[in-house]
C-alpha cells in the first residue's frame, strides 16, 4: 500500500522544491557566463564589424589547389551564393539544403533541408555545450544545434533549439524574394532583419531583446555599438545590448549600401561614393566618377591600411583599393566583383584580396598592386558564380551551386 502524503507533507515538499529550484537557477546563472567568441569565420564577412579581414590567416597566396570538395544542393538560381561559415571544426553551407562538413576532410557531419538564401551564422551560447547555428528557413529564422543533435530511427532529435516566426512583424528577409542581410553575431546576440526592422535576438533562446526600424544593410557591430542604415539620413548608431539610439551619422551622400568598422572609424559605401567617418566627422570621401553610379554598390573589406570594394565608372565595373588614411585610390583591377544583385563582398588576408568575380569563379588579387595572382573556377565545364570566401587558418572555403570547396596553397 502506497502511503498518501498529507497536506503538510505536500506543502513542505513543494516549498523545499521551489527553494531548491530558485537556488539552482541562481547557481546556473552564476556558473555559466557568456562563452568566448568563436574562432574562425562564424558569420558572413568574418566578424561583427563586417571587415572581411582575417589578419592572422595564411590562405593560398601564390597558387591554389583543392584540398577537398563536397557536393551539395546549393542551387539558388542566378547571382552569387551565400558565403560558407566556419567554426568549431565545421564548415556550413546553405542552398536548397544546409550541410555541415568537417573542415579537415569535407565529410558530411549532418545535412538538413532548408530554404534560406543568406549565409548562416554560428553563435556561442550560454546554456549549451555547443554553439547555436542560426539559419533561415522559408521566412523563419531557426537556431539549430551546431552539431546537428543526434539521430534516432532516422529522425533528428535536438536539432532545432528555437524558431523565430516571420509572423507578428512582417516577413523575415530570410527566404523571401529579397534575401536581405545575413545574421550578425555579437556578444551573445544575433542581429536579424525582420520586416522593416532589425531585431536583436538572444542566441541561446531566440527571444527578441530589442527592435529598431532600419533598412536592409548588413548590421555592423564595433565596440558595443550597432550601425544600421535608415532611409537617406545615413547611419543610425545604437547600443548593442539595449538597442537605444545613441547617435546618427548624417552623410548626405545618398542611400547607404554597406558599412564596415575599421581600425579608426566606419567606412561607408553609398551608391557611387565611399566615405570614412570618425564620430560625426567625414574624414574623406571617394567618388567613383560615374555619371550614373546608382547601379551597383556592395560590401567593403577593410584591412589595416586599405579599403576594397566594387565601383562602376563609364565603362565597366572594377575592384578598387583605397588608402584607409585619406581615401586615395591605390589601384583598380579589372577582376571586378560580381555585380548582381550587389557587388559581392571581398575578403582579405595574407596580402591578398579574394573576390567572386563577374565572369565566374573567384580571383585572388595582390592587395599591394592589384595584380591577379590566381583564379579558381571550380571543376565544372564553365566558370559559375561562386560565393564570397570564408578564410580560416591556411584555407579558403567557397561554394558554388554544386560543391563546397576547401582551397589551399598549391
Amino acid at each position: 500500500m502506497v502511503p498518501t502524503p498529507t497536506r503538510r507533507q505536500v506543502l513542505t515538499v513543494g516549498g523545499t522544491a521551489a527553494a531548491a529550484l530558485a537556488g539552482g537557477y541562481a547557481f546556473a546563472e552564476r556558473t555559466t557566463g557568456d562563452p568566448d567568441t568563436l574562432e574562425g569565420w562564424p558569420m558572413s564577412r568574418g566578424n561583427p564589424a563586417g571587415t572581411g579581414y582575417a589578419p592572422d590567416a595564411t590562405p593560398p597566396r601564390d597558387g591554389v589547389t583543392v584540398a577537398w570538395k563536397q557536393s551539395f544542393e546549393g542551387r539558388l538560381g542566378f547571382g552569387y551564393h551565400p558565403s560558407p561559415v566556419v567554426a568549431d571544426g565545421q564548415v556550413y553551407a546553405v542552398g536548397e539544403e544546409l550541410v555541415a562538413l568537417n573542415t579537415d576532410t569535407g565529410d558530411i557531419e549532418f545535412r538538413t533541408r532548408t530554404n534560406g538564401q543568406t549565409a548562416p551564422a554560428i553563435a556561442p551560447v550560454r546554456a549549451y555545450n555547443s554553439p547555436t547555428l542560426v539559419v533561415g528557413d522559408n521566412g523563419d529564422a531557426m537556431g539549430l544545434h551546431a552539431d546537428g543533435g543526434f539521430t534516432v530511427l532516422g529522425s533528428a532529435v535536438g536539432r532545432e533549439r528555437w524558431r523565430l516566426s516571420a509572423t507578428g512583424g512582417g516577413t523575415l528577409s530570410f527566404g523571401s524574394s529579397d534575401p536581405g542581410p545575413p545574421p550578425v553575431v555579437a556578444d551573445g546576440l544575433v542581429l536579424l532583419r525582420r520586416g522593416d526592422a532589425v531585431v536583436a535576438v538572444t542566441a541561446s533562446d531566440g527571444t527578441i531583446e530589442w527592435e529598431q526600424t532600419a533598412e536592409s544593410m548588413r548590421p555592423v557591430v564595433s565596440e558595443g555599438r550597432v550601425y544600421l542604415n535608415r532611409d537617406f539620413s545615413g547611419i543610425l548608431v545604437c547600443d548593442l545590448q539595449t538597442g537605444e539610439r545613441l547617435d546618427t551619422i548624417e552623410t548626405d551622400d545618398g542611400w547607404v549600401a554597406a558599412a564596415a568598422a575599421g581600425p579608426d572609424g566606419v567606412v561607408i559605401n553609398t551608391y557611387g561614393k565611399v566615405l570614412r567617418v570618425t564620430g560625426e566627422t567625414v574624414d574623406w570621401r571617394y567618388t567613383s566618377g560615374a555619371d550614373n553610379p546608382n547601379t551597383h554598390a556592395g560590401a567593403v573589406a577593410v584591412d589595416d591600411g586599405a579599403v576594397y570594394t566594387g565601383i562602376r565608372d563609364e565603362e565597366r565595373d572594377w575592384l578598387v583599393a583605397l588608402d584607409l588614411k585619406d581615401g586615395a585610390e591605390l589601384w583598380r583591377s579589372k577582376a571586378a566583383p560580381e555585380p548582381s544583385p550587389a557587388y559581392t563582398p571581398p575578403a582579405v588576408a595574407n596580402d591578398t584580396v579574394y573576390i567572386p568575380v563577374e565572369d565566374g569563379g573567384i580571383a585572388a588579387i595582390d592587395s599591394e598592386e592589384g595584380r591577379v595572382r590566381w583564379r579558381f573556377e571550380g571543376d565544372g565545364q564553365e566558370a559559375l558564380p561562386m560565393s564570397p570566401v570564408a578564410i580560416v587558418d591556411d584555407r579558403l572555403y567557397v561554394a558554388d551551386s554544386s560543391y563546397v570547396y576547401a582551397l589551399e596553397e598549391s
Binding site: V10, G24, G168
Partner: protein
Amino acid sequence: MKEGQETSALDLLSAGLGRLRARPQVAAWFLLAGSAVTGVDLLRADSPVPAVSGAEDSGLNVRLEFWILVTILRGTGLSPGALVDLQFPWLAVTVGLEVFSLAAIVAASYGGLCALLGEEPSLVAGVRYGAVLVALSTLVPEVTLGGAGAVLGIILLVVVLSVVVRLVPLPGRLAYGESVRTALGRSWTQSGGHGWSLFGVVLGLGLANSLLASLPLVGPLGSSAVAAVHAAVVAVFLERTGRRKPAASTTHRPSAQTGLSR
C-alpha cells in the same frame, strides 16, 4: 445534491461556483498552484533555455481552451529538442522546473477533485491522473479553422468536440481511483443524454480559459481560477447524474476537507 437535479450548462456552472464558495480552500489550492506555475513562467522567460510561448497568437483569433482533464494552462512550454546538449546546471534546473510545474498542477487538480467529490486521495491515482494529463496534452490535436482547410477544420472540430463532451466526467472518474479504461467507459456512458449541457460547459469554460490564460504574466493564475470552476462543475455533474463509484471500490472514507488528507 441529489440525483436527477438540473444539468443545464448554466445550472452546472452556477452550482459549481456555489460549491467553490462552500469550499474556498479548494480554490485556494488552485490559486497556489497557479502562482507556482506563474513563477516557473517568469523564471523560464529570464532563462537562456528556449521556451515555447503559449500565447503567440495575435489579432482577432477566438480560441477555445478546454482540456478534458482539469488543468492549469502554462504561459510557456518546453520543446524536448531544446534539452539536448544543455549544460548540466541548466538541464537540472529546466527539468526541475518542468516537473515542479506539472506536480503543482496535478496536486491541485487531482487533490481539488478529490475534495469536491469527498474522495480520499491516493498517490497511485494521483500519478495516474498526471500520466493521463501528459498523454492528453501530447496527443489531443489543436484544431484551427481558417483558409482553404476551413471546411475540413469544421468537420474535425465537430468530431473532436463530440468526443470531448463525452469525456467531461473523466477527471472525476479518475479521481474516484478508476483505471483509465474504466474511467473512459463510464465517462462515456455517464455523459450520454447530456451532450448539449456539457457542450455549453465546454464552451463557457474553454472561452474563459482562453481569455484569462492569455493575460500577460498572470495567465496561469487566471487559468487556475477556471480550473477550480471546472473541477467543481465535474463534481456537481457526477453527483447529479448519480453514477458514483461502484460499491466494490467505495471503501474509501470521504475526506471532509481538501483533497489531501491531513
